[in-house]
Protein backbone atom coordinates (compact mmCIF):
# COMPACT_ATOMS: atom_id res chain seq x y z
CA UNK A 1 0.00 0.00 0.00
CA UNK A 2 1.19 3.51 -0.82
CA UNK A 3 0.81 6.68 1.28
CA UNK A 4 -1.54 8.19 -1.34
CA UNK A 5 -3.89 5.23 -0.97
CA UNK A 6 -3.98 5.48 2.81
CA UNK A 7 -4.32 9.27 3.00
CA UNK A 8 -8.07 9.50 2.16
CA UNK A 9 -8.99 7.11 4.98
CA UNK A 10 -6.71 8.59 7.65
CA UNK A 11 -9.65 10.50 9.23
CA UNK A 12 -11.77 7.38 9.33
CA UNK A 13 -8.96 5.49 11.04
CA UNK A 14 -8.45 8.35 13.49
CA UNK A 15 -12.09 8.54 14.61
CA UNK A 16 -12.57 4.80 14.58
CA UNK A 17 -15.23 4.72 11.85
CA UNK A 18 -12.95 2.94 9.36
CA UNK A 19 -11.34 -0.39 9.98
CA UNK A 20 -7.74 -0.58 8.82
CA UNK A 21 -7.00 -3.79 6.99
CA UNK A 22 -3.85 -5.77 7.61
CA UNK A 23 -2.18 -4.07 4.66
CA UNK A 24 -2.92 -0.58 5.97
CA UNK A 25 -1.77 -1.55 9.44
CA UNK A 26 1.48 -2.86 8.07
CA UNK A 27 2.02 0.29 6.06
CA UNK A 28 1.28 2.51 9.07
CA UNK A 29 3.75 0.59 11.20
CA UNK A 30 6.56 1.35 8.80
CA UNK A 31 5.67 4.81 7.41
CA UNK A 32 6.59 7.90 9.41
CA UNK A 33 4.60 10.23 7.12
CA UNK A 34 1.35 8.27 7.45
CA UNK A 35 1.90 7.83 11.19
CA UNK A 36 2.29 11.58 11.49
CA UNK A 37 -0.83 12.23 9.42
CA UNK A 38 -2.69 9.76 11.62
CA UNK A 39 -1.59 11.48 14.81
CA UNK A 40 -2.63 14.87 13.37
CA UNK A 41 -6.02 13.50 12.41
CA UNK A 42 -6.45 12.00 15.89
CA UNK A 43 -5.44 15.31 17.50
CA UNK A 44 -8.06 17.15 15.43
CA UNK A 45 -10.72 14.56 16.20
CA UNK A 46 -10.00 14.66 19.94
CA UNK A 47 -9.98 18.43 19.99
CA UNK A 48 -13.30 18.53 18.17
CA UNK A 49 -14.77 16.06 20.67
CA UNK A 50 -13.48 18.07 23.64
CA UNK A 51 -14.54 21.46 22.32
CA UNK A 52 -17.11 23.15 24.51
CA UNK A 53 -20.20 24.55 22.87
CA UNK A 54 -20.36 28.35 23.01
CA UNK A 55 -23.32 29.29 25.21
CA UNK A 56 -25.82 31.90 24.04
CA UNK A 57 -25.72 35.22 25.94
CA UNK A 58 -28.15 35.63 28.88
CA UNK A 59 -30.67 37.84 27.06
CA UNK A 60 -30.84 35.66 23.98
CA UNK A 61 -34.38 34.31 24.39
CA UNK A 62 -35.73 37.74 25.33
CA UNK A 63 -34.05 39.16 22.23
CA UNK A 64 -35.69 36.54 20.00
CA UNK A 65 -39.11 37.15 21.56
CA UNK A 66 -38.71 40.92 21.10
CA UNK A 67 -37.87 40.41 17.42
CA UNK A 68 -40.85 38.10 17.00
CA UNK A 69 -43.09 40.75 18.56
CA UNK A 70 -41.65 43.44 16.28
CA UNK A 71 -42.21 41.24 13.27
CA UNK A 72 -45.78 40.54 14.36
CA UNK A 73 -46.37 44.24 14.98
CA UNK A 74 -45.11 45.13 11.50
CA UNK A 75 -47.38 42.51 9.94
CA UNK A 76 -50.35 43.77 11.95
CA UNK A 77 -49.57 47.33 10.96
CA UNK A 78 -49.71 46.38 7.29
CA UNK A 79 -53.09 44.66 7.80
CA UNK A 80 -54.34 47.62 9.84
CA UNK A 81 -53.27 50.06 7.17
CA UNK A 82 -55.14 48.10 4.51
CA UNK A 83 -58.22 47.88 6.70
CA UNK A 84 -58.09 51.58 7.58
CA UNK A 85 -57.81 52.49 3.92
CA UNK A 86 -60.80 50.28 3.11
CA UNK A 87 -62.86 51.88 5.89
CA UNK A 88 -61.83 55.37 4.78
CA UNK A 89 -62.79 54.52 1.20
CA UNK A 90 -66.16 53.21 2.44
CA UNK A 91 -66.86 56.33 4.46
CA UNK A 92 -65.85 58.51 1.53
CA UNK A 93 -68.20 56.55 -0.70
CA UNK A 94 -71.09 57.00 1.73
CA UNK A 95 -70.43 60.73 2.07
CA UNK A 96 -70.12 61.08 -1.69
CA UNK A 97 -73.39 59.17 -2.08
CA UNK A 98 -75.11 61.46 0.44
CA UNK A 99 -73.80 64.56 -1.29
CA UNK A 100 -74.86 63.18 -4.66
CA UNK A 101 -78.33 62.42 -3.36
CA UNK A 102 -78.62 65.89 -1.83
CA UNK A 103 -77.47 67.41 -5.11
CA UNK A 104 -80.01 65.43 -7.10
CA UNK A 105 -82.76 66.60 -4.75
CA UNK A 106 -81.67 70.17 -5.13
CA UNK A 107 -80.86 70.49 -1.42
CA UNK A 108 -77.50 72.09 -2.01
CA UNK A 109 -79.16 75.05 -3.74
CA UNK A 110 -81.58 75.75 -0.90
CA UNK A 111 -80.91 78.66 1.44
CA UNK A 112 -81.06 78.04 5.16
CA UNK A 113 -84.77 77.99 5.66
CA UNK A 114 -86.32 75.70 8.24
CA UNK A 115 -89.57 75.15 6.41
CA UNK A 116 -87.86 74.35 3.15
CA UNK A 117 -85.39 72.11 4.93
CA UNK A 118 -88.19 70.24 6.69
CA UNK A 119 -90.00 69.79 3.43
CA UNK A 120 -86.83 68.57 1.79
CA UNK A 121 -86.23 66.23 4.72
CA UNK A 122 -89.70 64.79 4.32
CA UNK A 123 -89.12 64.34 0.58
CA UNK A 124 -85.79 62.65 1.26
CA UNK A 125 -87.40 60.41 3.84
CA UNK A 126 -90.06 59.46 1.36
CA UNK A 127 -87.47 58.53 -1.24
CA UNK A 128 -85.19 56.69 1.17
CA UNK A 129 -87.96 54.72 2.92
CA UNK A 130 -88.21 52.00 0.23
CA UNK A 131 -84.42 51.45 0.55
CA UNK A 132 -84.53 51.20 4.35
CA UNK A 133 -83.74 47.46 4.34
CA UNK A 134 -80.67 47.89 2.13
CA UNK A 135 -79.44 50.83 4.18
CA UNK A 136 -80.00 48.83 7.38
CA UNK A 137 -77.97 45.89 6.10
CA UNK A 138 -75.19 48.24 4.94
CA UNK A 139 -75.15 49.89 8.35
CA UNK A 140 -75.03 46.50 10.06
CA UNK A 141 -72.11 45.38 7.88
CA UNK A 142 -70.27 48.61 8.59
CA UNK A 143 -70.88 48.18 12.33
CA UNK A 144 -69.65 44.57 12.16
CA UNK A 145 -66.52 45.63 10.27
CA UNK A 146 -65.80 48.33 12.83
CA UNK A 147 -66.41 45.81 15.64
CA UNK A 148 -64.02 43.34 14.01
CA UNK A 149 -61.44 46.09 13.69
CA UNK A 150 -61.81 46.96 17.36
CA UNK A 151 -61.48 43.27 18.31
CA UNK A 152 -58.34 42.81 16.17
CA UNK A 153 -56.79 45.92 17.71
CA UNK A 154 -57.60 44.79 21.23
CA UNK A 155 -56.19 41.24 20.73
CA UNK A 156 -52.51 42.16 20.61
CA UNK A 157 -51.30 39.11 22.51
CA UNK A 158 -49.06 36.49 20.78
Amino acid sequence: MRCEELEPIIEGLADGTADPGAEARAHLAGCALCTRRGSQARAIHELLVRREAPAPPPGFTAGVMARVQRQRWRAERAVDLGFNLAVAAGVLLIVAGGVGLAWSLGLLRIQANLAVLLEAGARLGGRVAPQAQTIGVAGLLLTMALGLWWWAEADSSF
Binding site: E7, P8, R36, R51, A55, F60, F158
Partner: protein
Protein backbone atom coordinates in the same frame (compact mmCIF):
# COMPACT_ATOMS: atom_id res chain seq x y z
CA UNK B 1 -44.06 12.11 16.05
CA UNK B 2 -47.74 12.46 16.96
CA UNK B 3 -48.40 12.68 20.66
CA UNK B 4 -44.80 13.46 21.59
CA UNK B 5 -43.96 16.59 23.57
CA UNK B 6 -42.25 17.92 20.45
CA UNK B 7 -45.47 17.58 18.48
CA UNK B 8 -47.42 19.21 21.28
CA UNK B 9 -44.91 22.04 21.47
CA UNK B 10 -45.24 22.65 17.74
CA UNK B 11 -49.03 22.59 17.96
CA UNK B 12 -49.04 25.04 20.84
CA UNK B 13 -46.74 27.36 18.90
CA UNK B 14 -49.02 27.13 15.89
CA UNK B 15 -51.94 28.11 18.09
CA UNK B 16 -50.13 31.30 19.00
CA UNK B 17 -48.97 30.22 22.45
CA UNK B 18 -46.15 32.61 23.26
CA UNK B 19 -44.97 30.51 26.20
CA UNK B 20 -44.63 27.50 23.90
CA UNK B 21 -42.47 29.40 21.44
CA UNK B 22 -40.33 30.70 24.28
CA UNK B 23 -39.95 27.07 25.41
CA UNK B 24 -38.92 26.08 21.89
CA UNK B 25 -36.28 28.81 21.81
CA UNK B 26 -34.98 27.74 25.22
CA UNK B 27 -34.79 24.14 24.03
CA UNK B 28 -32.91 24.76 20.80
CA UNK B 29 -30.94 27.95 21.41
CA UNK B 30 -27.88 25.99 22.49
CA UNK B 31 -27.75 24.07 19.22
CA UNK B 32 -28.45 27.06 17.01
CA UNK B 33 -26.17 29.51 18.77
CA UNK B 34 -23.29 27.04 19.06
CA UNK B 35 -23.28 26.30 15.34
CA UNK B 36 -23.55 29.99 14.44
CA UNK B 37 -20.86 31.01 16.89
CA UNK B 38 -18.52 28.34 15.58
CA UNK B 39 -19.14 29.36 11.98
CA UNK B 40 -19.15 33.16 12.23
CA UNK B 41 -16.18 34.97 13.71
CA UNK B 42 -18.02 38.01 15.10
CA UNK B 43 -20.01 37.12 18.23
CA UNK B 44 -22.59 39.88 17.63
CA UNK B 45 -23.22 38.66 14.09
CA UNK B 46 -23.46 35.08 15.31
CA UNK B 47 -26.11 36.10 17.83
CA UNK B 48 -28.00 38.08 15.20
CA UNK B 49 -27.97 35.09 12.84
CA UNK B 50 -29.07 32.74 15.62
CA UNK B 51 -32.00 35.06 16.38
CA UNK B 52 -32.77 35.26 12.67
CA UNK B 53 -32.91 31.46 12.58
CA UNK B 54 -35.59 31.47 15.27
CA UNK B 55 -37.53 34.16 13.43
CA UNK B 56 -37.57 31.86 10.42
CA UNK B 57 -38.66 29.01 12.65
CA UNK B 58 -41.51 31.18 13.90
CA UNK B 59 -42.53 32.14 10.38
CA UNK B 60 -42.21 28.59 9.11
CA UNK B 61 -43.97 26.72 11.91
CA UNK B 62 -47.41 26.95 10.25
CA UNK B 63 -45.91 25.09 7.28
CA UNK B 64 -43.88 22.55 9.28
CA UNK B 65 -45.52 19.23 8.50
CA UNK B 66 -43.71 17.25 11.17
CA UNK B 67 -42.28 14.76 8.70
CA UNK B 68 -38.79 15.47 10.00
CA UNK B 69 -37.75 15.98 13.59
CA UNK B 70 -37.99 19.56 14.74
CA UNK B 71 -34.25 19.67 15.45
CA UNK B 72 -33.54 18.45 11.91
CA UNK B 73 -35.75 21.15 10.43
CA UNK B 74 -34.15 23.84 12.59
CA UNK B 75 -30.72 22.53 11.66
CA UNK B 76 -31.65 22.89 7.98
CA UNK B 77 -32.69 26.50 8.57
CA UNK B 78 -29.34 27.15 10.25
CA UNK B 79 -27.48 25.59 7.33
CA UNK B 80 -29.41 27.72 4.83
CA UNK B 81 -28.76 30.89 6.80
CA UNK B 82 -25.05 30.16 6.96
CA UNK B 83 -24.98 29.46 3.23
CA UNK B 84 -26.57 32.88 2.64
CA UNK B 85 -24.10 34.49 5.01
CA UNK B 86 -21.13 32.98 3.22
CA UNK B 87 -22.16 32.53 -0.43
CA UNK B 88 -18.50 32.10 -1.35
CA UNK B 89 -18.43 28.95 0.76
CA UNK B 90 -22.00 27.87 0.20
CA UNK B 91 -21.38 24.75 -1.80
CA UNK B 92 -18.96 21.92 -1.95
CA UNK B 93 -18.37 19.55 -4.77
CA UNK B 94 -18.96 15.91 -4.06
CA UNK B 95 -15.77 15.28 -5.92
CA UNK B 96 -13.75 17.83 -4.00
CA UNK B 97 -10.27 16.59 -3.48
CA UNK B 98 -7.05 18.07 -2.30
CA UNK B 99 -4.00 18.83 -4.13
CA UNK B 100 -1.41 17.07 -2.08
CA UNK B 101 1.19 19.42 -3.47
CA UNK B 102 -0.17 22.01 -0.99
CA UNK B 103 0.91 19.87 1.90
CA UNK B 104 4.37 20.61 3.21
CA UNK B 105 6.60 17.68 2.77
CA UNK B 106 7.61 16.90 6.29
CA UNK B 107 10.52 14.82 7.16
CA UNK B 108 9.76 11.52 8.81
CA UNK B 109 9.89 11.92 12.55
CA UNK B 110 9.33 15.69 12.42
CA UNK B 111 8.22 17.38 15.60
CA UNK B 112 4.43 17.41 16.15
CA UNK B 113 4.60 20.48 18.33
CA UNK B 114 2.20 22.36 16.05
CA UNK B 115 -0.56 19.89 16.86
CA UNK B 116 0.14 19.72 20.54
CA UNK B 117 0.02 23.26 21.83
CA UNK B 118 -2.90 25.17 23.23
CA UNK B 119 -3.03 27.48 20.22
CA UNK B 120 -4.35 24.65 18.16
CA UNK B 121 -7.86 25.29 19.46
CA UNK B 122 -7.87 28.83 18.09
CA UNK B 123 -6.30 27.77 14.82
CA UNK B 124 -8.82 25.00 14.51
CA UNK B 125 -11.71 27.46 14.92
CA UNK B 126 -10.24 29.69 12.23
CA UNK B 127 -9.69 26.74 9.93
CA UNK B 128 -13.28 25.54 10.42
CA UNK B 129 -14.54 28.95 9.29
CA UNK B 130 -12.59 28.50 6.08
CA UNK B 131 -14.37 25.28 5.22
CA UNK B 132 -17.28 25.25 2.77
CA UNK B 133 -20.52 25.86 4.69
CA UNK B 134 -21.85 22.30 4.37
CA UNK B 135 -18.59 21.06 5.89
CA UNK B 136 -18.76 23.65 8.66
CA UNK B 137 -22.32 22.66 9.48
CA UNK B 138 -21.36 18.99 9.46
CA UNK B 139 -18.35 19.38 11.72
CA UNK B 140 -20.01 21.83 14.10
CA UNK B 141 -23.28 19.93 14.27
CA UNK B 142 -21.71 16.53 14.65
CA UNK B 143 -19.14 17.47 17.26
CA UNK B 144 -20.86 20.26 19.13
CA UNK B 145 -24.14 18.61 19.77
CA UNK B 146 -23.58 15.03 18.85
CA UNK B 147 -26.32 15.03 16.24
CA UNK B 148 -26.84 11.61 14.74
CA UNK B 149 -25.68 10.87 11.22
CA UNK B 150 -29.33 10.30 10.30
CA UNK B 151 -30.27 13.81 11.45
CA UNK B 152 -27.39 15.36 9.57
CA UNK B 153 -28.28 13.42 6.44
CA UNK B 154 -31.91 14.51 6.63
CA UNK B 155 -31.09 18.13 7.40
CA UNK B 156 -28.56 18.42 4.60
CA UNK B 157 -30.59 16.28 2.20
CA UNK B 158 -27.77 13.80 1.68
CA UNK B 159 -27.54 10.04 1.89
CA UNK B 160 -26.04 8.90 5.18
CA UNK B 161 -22.98 7.46 3.47
CA UNK B 162 -22.33 10.82 1.85
CA UNK B 163 -22.55 12.52 5.24
CA UNK B 164 -19.83 10.25 6.61
CA UNK B 165 -17.70 10.79 3.54
CA UNK B 166 -18.15 14.56 3.76
CA UNK B 167 -17.33 14.57 7.44
CA UNK B 168 -14.09 12.76 6.73
CA UNK B 169 -13.32 15.10 3.85
CA UNK B 170 -14.06 18.10 6.06
CA UNK B 171 -11.61 16.85 8.67
CA UNK B 172 -9.08 16.06 6.01
CA UNK B 173 -9.42 19.60 4.71
CA UNK B 174 -8.98 20.87 8.26
CA UNK B 175 -5.81 18.86 8.60
CA UNK B 176 -4.49 20.36 5.36
CA UNK B 177 -5.45 23.90 6.41
CA UNK B 178 -3.73 23.48 9.76
CA UNK B 179 -0.67 22.19 7.99
CA UNK B 180 -0.56 25.02 5.48
CA UNK B 181 -2.41 28.30 6.06
CA UNK B 182 -2.90 28.07 9.83
CA UNK B 183 0.39 26.54 10.71
Amino acid sequence: MRGTPEHELVERCRNGDETAFRELVEQYKGLVFAIMARSVAEPARAEELAQEAFLRVHQGLPYFRGEARLSTWIYRIVANLLAQERPDLATVSLDATFDDSDEPRVQPGADDRAFGDMMLRDRLDKAIRRLPVPYQVLVNGHYLKGLRYEDLAEALNMPMGTVKTHLHRAKRQLRHLLETEFR
